[in-house]
């Protein structure tokens, strides 16, 4: 079977992003590099219509406002009705009460297909104590334990990404150990990954597999970019190039995945 990245490139799914202002440009360029088509729209007057025609919807609360969260809920409900998958990226949850409350409001009102966040964000969202520093996750959390606990509480497939990435679903936990520290120097690296996961989910029937494949692909692209560039400016450019170039064969050679129950 071919890798899902080939399927993304064939189907060119339209990904509707309601996302933060910091990463909009990088997310759109990243989705183009992946082979998907981005659309950004957040006005309450149009989000329901846009979500319906999309292949997947991404809700990212990085620079949220009350109005934007309202629009996210409209878009999410519309996606739910139309059978369009919804990915939640709970950026900075735990840093302020407003973020935590808004993420919980979204989870109450929208059926979310999966969530991607760093350890600190997922720990806060699930009510596990952790200190979240800005939009950065704490690094001294036992991620596999967190994945288990968070899934028990949230009952939604999760991708917890950081130094090591873990995907968790009912009865399945996948560890992925590709990637490169330079990704932490690129603003929106996590946000774009959420959008890439959305693209992969939209062309697959298996959420966990789509999440794992998206993360492997993404991190192999980062490794290949870092082979030639050691600084964050040129790394970011090379990373977009690699998202465009990396194919199933390149991923197979490099990917390191462990599956467990």
């Amino acid at each position: 079977m071919s890798h899902l990245i080939e399927e993304v490139r064939k189907q060119q799914p339209l990904i509707h992003n309601i996302t933060n202002q910091v990463v909009m440009n990088f997310t759109a360029n990243g989705l183009y590099a992946v082979g998907a088509a981005p659309v950004m729209a957040h006005a309450k007057e149009e989000v329901e219509e846009m979500a319906r025609i999309a292949s997947a919807v991404v809700l990212n609360i990085g620079t949220l406002t009350k109005e934007q969260v309202d629009a996210m809920i409209l878009a999410g409900k519309s996606a739910n009705q139309a059978g369009v998958p919804v990915v939640l990226d709970p950026v900075g949850v735990g840093a302020t009460t407003f973020r935590t409350d808004s993420a919980n409001r979204i989870l109450q009102e929208v059926k979310v297909t999966c969530i991607r966040g760093n350890a600190g964000e997922i720990a806060n969202l699930a009510g596990v104590d952790a200190q979240v520093r800005g939009v950065e996750g704490s690094s001294d959390i036992d991620v596999q334990k967190l994945a288990k606990l968070a899934f028990e509480t949230l009952q939604i497939p999760l991708a917890i990404t950081g130094e090591k990435d873990v995907v968790v679903d009912q009865g399945a936990q996948v560890s992925i150990s590709n990637g490169h520290p330079l990704l932490t120097k690129v603003t929106g690296a996590g946000c774009l990954l959420s959008a890439v996961i959305a693209a992969f989910i939209s062309v697959s029937d298996h959420v966990t597999e789509a999440m794992s494949d998206a993360i492997s692909y993404y991190n192999v692209a980062a490794e290949k970019a870092a082979e030639k560039h050691a600084y964050p400016g040129s790394f970011q450019v090379a990373f977009l190039d690699q998202l465009f170039e990396v194919d199933g064969a390149a991923i197979s050679k490099k990917k390191r995945i462990n599956r467990s129950l």
Copy 2:
């Protein structure tokens, strides 16, 4: 006569952009590379004042809200009173009712100097049926026929850009066949072109010529960038470099234009 790009670089026109959040940074950097000066301002309290001191105004509805469209109309009317040209970029028109209605509202209230969009957007704006997929245009439209029909309806000089570019005005139709497919992988390539057209129009008395010259220049820069870079990340960087470097002589060597009535 020297190419208009030289005139832009000499006059350094101030381009007031009310544009979408995805492309603001790229548009501003692109305008600097061209030799113009960008300013972004969208608060209703200041857009009239800003539009009056600008050399041209760009209205781009890519991530529109009701408030932003109101601000666009204030800016557009102020520009009209001051004799400042106005370029409309109807991003995604046809994808949602709100976009179509907003673009029509702008056209009713503001005297627009010219419009730049892809085939799908222009077809929708003019009421010619076409399926618009996100912000991407349909590729199987007869663009020269569309140009004719759309100009008959809208009675505004138009630039329809895509694989082939067409500029149309009363009694004139210009086809331009420079450019490179990698431009479709760069978010905001169309949006920046609208801003570049605004810069060219602001230093010329001939709208059609200014549009054609802007498009030739832009596409020659893309071709030169693509000679060395085959991937979208590094292509985008090289494209900004080429916008800065390309001069009238370089354009003359490469440009492919056909004029017809």
Copy 3:
């Protein structure tokens, strides 16, 4: 004593930016390259909480709205109460009445630790006549005289940046003559510098020294980037790389500073 850049990299201060939409991505990537951690948040519901946990707050009015200025004042007051330094970047002051009034409103309600702007902005903010063209400063102002007059009026430490940079405080004036003209071709070069100054101030007890050190560091990085890249696209990428690479030793070799009373 080691250069403050080493201290920034050790402490990784969290910089809370309420800034304009054009430069958010570049500011965040720049702060990561410097070694700081960026956070962007502008909703009135969370800015007070975010400002309190930040190491410094940056208020930048580049694409201001009434709501955003309200949020800036909430964040600024909260920072004041928590003893967190506040940097004001009065982008485009003088271009419109709304900008000038908003900057003055912030100065009345928030105790600002220091201000960074170009000559035109500072001249307008201090009530010294100057013609500001968009967000660009006039270049024919006697900057050292301006620094003196502006400090007398505003009584706040100032960094006036442009071809030559001047830092002024009670009884001290520092001239810094590093830098490169290509910086003027990068959107948000001034805005990012304000954020970098915030990072330096947050790890120092001496505001003037922190401002001077930040500017020297920033401009040496620009010089080193310009040694290899003559065009704005590739220069910007190399500049981020150099912000990441340049250390105290590299700065010492290149910096050109004059101190006077």
